[in-house]
Amino acid sequence: MINFDYLRTASVNATLDAIKREPRAAFIAGGTNLVDLMKRGVTSPPRLIDINNLPLKNIERTSSGISIGALATNSAVAINEMIRSDFPLLSQALHAGASPQLRNMATVGGNMLQRTRCTYFYDTTMPCNKRQAGSGCGALGGYNRMHAIFGASDKCIAVHPSDMCVALVALNATAVVRSNKGERRIPFGDFHRLPGDTPQTDNQLKAGELITAVEIPSNKFQQHSFYLKIRDRSSYAFALVSVAVALSIENNRISDARIAAGGVAHKPWRLLNVEKALTGQPASVETFQKAASIATQGAKGYGQNNFKLKLLPQAIIQALETASS
């Protein structure tokens, strides 16, 4: 690992000053993604700002829902009583990610900003526009079994690997970020971006901005939430396809539906057309099949990942059946 300056801050203000003084610095939270990427030479920030002492670990009820500090660990959020009772989808998605050891280290902010697991991104001898702009996309005509079927470009077909973010986008969460200029709120659906011509940029976070919290509005999905993750082994692997489903069912009719998919795009992918096809309909297998049949509208396979075009609708039906029962 290339050496670096190390700075440990104890307050949000000191952290924002520090990143202003050295804009090329990187924050380090759990380190589970950053340290890995630094060891492999994918990234080599000249300075790390260790933010683990910042008071951003709390999980608190607010008047409109819940606020989760950016430094709360993935395991702390997953086992939190309020999260389990009011937002079971988030707890399930977190438990489906990584391993117990990694979840004890990984934080909410770091999970949002984790980079793709595309092998061409990781292998510095290979072309990758995300790692090195202009070098090409090795996955386009190469190994692309794990890659995107929605919203990709001819510059990049990588996917965002997070499970947590799939649940958060379905739950209409908001990211709270701070910089020296003040605070702003980014709706979760807008936080991550599509690759377009600039795949090196994963999200809307600007230089000098620190994620401080994620807020989730209250909802009525407690009874009917399910996170389904399909992967090459039954645990401890990234998703081929995952589906987050949250339903509100009244008198056997779906009054509100949220569906998002993971492993299919450069960002957690909300399936608004499927949600629309479910809303107002009876909670039946016929409804689920009909809604799932339009899930892949606009989707495109790149060869090895063509199976996702069939797998996604099937996964949606299965997740809806489990959530509604």
């Binding site: 700075l7 440990r8 104890a10 380190g31 395991s75 280290m105 645990s235």
Partner: protein, 210 residues
């Protein structure tokens, strides 16, 4: 031949490389009163900084002993334990967070020490496989691993046992299925999984105080 390579004669006698690393680590171990560590943590200034090639002071407790060390910021907790402190029980498998061989406890919680920078553990209490036994008395899960033959080559075993102890303490050892899920962060290339699950189940059922 390059002069820096030891001759076979030098390799065969005297200090081993491992011993050399232990000595050169210059770890200062003093017997611990818990308040020392707590106080060090409380006294963190608003900013602590180490320059590019600078080593920075690090205080942490490993298996009940306080260590005051000088480390480069890029040193991982795993390398610190093995190469500077000389506790080689914790293994390096993948060095990328994928295998669990490096599992240790930080304040009682299991983590992968290969992805944690040592300096991020200022003031923390680390427990490694060497810290489980009480003198000559093995930890109940260590005993169970021997009884159930829960290893072949043994390389993954320290990580499996550290992870298994945490798995039981977290309340995630209720059934074989639950154990398999919550032990999924520990790979075993020899495939000793069924016996590992048996060892954890039995230790959990034994209700031993871990």
């Amino acid at each position: 031949m390059s002069k820096t390579l030891p001759t076979s004669d030098e390799q065969g006698k005297g200090a081993s490389r491992r011993d050399f690393l232990k000595w050169s680590g210059a770890a200062v171990a003093v017997s611990l009163t818990p308040s020392v560590v707590t106080r060090a943590a409380g006294e963190r200034a608003d900013e602590t900084i180490a320059g590019f090639f600078e080593k920075m002071p690090l205080k942490l407790e490993v298996n009940g002993k306080l260590h005051q060390l000088q480390v480069e910021p890029r040193t991982t907790l795993l390398d610190l334990l093995r190469e500077q402190i000389g506790l080689t029980g914790t293994k390096k498998g993948c060095d990328q967070g994928q295998c669990g061989a490096c599992t240790v406890h930080v304040n009682g919680r299991r983590i992968n020490s290969c992805l944690s920078l040592a300096v991020m553990n200022e003031g923390q209490k680390i427990t490694t496989i060497e810290g489980l036994a009480k003198g000559d008395e093995l930890h109940p899960l260590q005993e169970a691993f021997i009884k159930h033959d829960a290893f072949q080559c043994g390389y993954c075993t320290p990580g499996q046992i550290m992870s298994g102890v945490a798995c039981i303490n977290e309340g995630h050892a209720g059934s074989a299925d639950e154990i398999r899920e919550f032990m999924s962060g520990n790979l075993c290339r020899c495939g000793a999984y069924p016996h590992i699950v048996d060892a954890i189940l039995e230790t959990k059922k034994g209700g031993n105080n871990l």
